[in-house]
């Protein structure tokens, strides 16, 4: 299991290779990459800044990964979340899940993102033509996390 919070970009291919290396028991790898968009809530977004709660962030991500491991038989998980200043098109978050079969890999990948979005202490601030604004939490994200209960 690998959990990282970092300002630098990440490389999906390198992270998948890192999970596969020297293993032949993995049957399925599912991955998700979240990207910064240039529009949100009808306004252009020139840049965003991601703030987090150092210490709790890593703890919350580890708890979410542990919960996924209790729900599905996973072989490995990587979660990388960026912080700091990001531009449209920049990758923000990466989840890679390895399992014996696609069912658990797909499901756990979606579960991890749904829980991360509602439980991990990150906050986005966007730069728009109308000024800087903090992104508001969405009820649809709460609903997405709730369906796993």
């Amino acid at each position: 299991m690998k959990i990282r919070v970092q300002t630098e970009a990440f490389d999906l291919g390198a992270e998948v290779d890192s999970i596969r290396r020297e293993r032949t028991d993995i049957g399925a790898i599912a991955s998700f990459v979240g990207l910064a968009r240039d529009i949100n809530e009808g306004s252009g977004v020139a840049a965003m800044t991601l703030e987090h709660y150092p210490g709790m962030t890593e703890k919350a991500l580890a708890a979410i990964v542990a919960e996924a491991g209790q729900r599905w038989p996973l072989q490995d998980v990587t979660v990388i979340h960026r912080v700091g200043r990001l531009l449209p098109g920049d990758p923000i978050v990466l989840v890679v899940v390895a399992g014996a079969h696609r069912g658990e890999a797909f499901a756990a990948c979606e579960f991890l993102m749904d829980y991360l979005k509602t439980r991990a202490p990150f906050w986005k601030k966007e730069k728009t033509p109308q000024g800087d604004r903090w992104v508001e939490a969405r009820a649809s994200d709460d609903a997405a996390a709730e369906r796993w209960n």
């Binding site: 210490g55 923000i92 991360l116 979005k117 439980r119 906050w123 601030k125 939490a137």
Partner: protein
């Protein structure tokens, strides 16, 4: 007893404060909110009943009736928006 309080994101900006150590005479998170609301202004506004925020004690999210231990690290922040 003493508590170490951390504020994040919109709350940090509105309060103009990232962290503080304060003397706390209450018991639960609700008591702490009352103490902070009594400062008036943005404190009363942002921490009013019905406003959306979260409280973590020693880096775990807790309910408002949670008892705050001596020297706890208590964080108050808006609902999260990562991912």
């Amino acid at each position: 007893m003493k508590l170490h309080i951390l504020y994040f994101a919109r709350l940090r900006e509105r309060f103009g404060l990232a962290e503080e150590t304060l003397e706390f005479s209450g018991t639960t998170a609700v008591d702490l909110l009352s103490q902070l609301q009594a400062r008036g202004g943005v404190w009363a506004e942002e921490l009013a009943t019905g406003r959306a925020f979260r409280i973590a004690v020693d880096q775990d999210i807790v309910a408002l009736d949670a008892v705050l231990p001596e020297n706890a690290e208590v964080a108050i922040f808006p609902p999260v928006t990562g991912g």
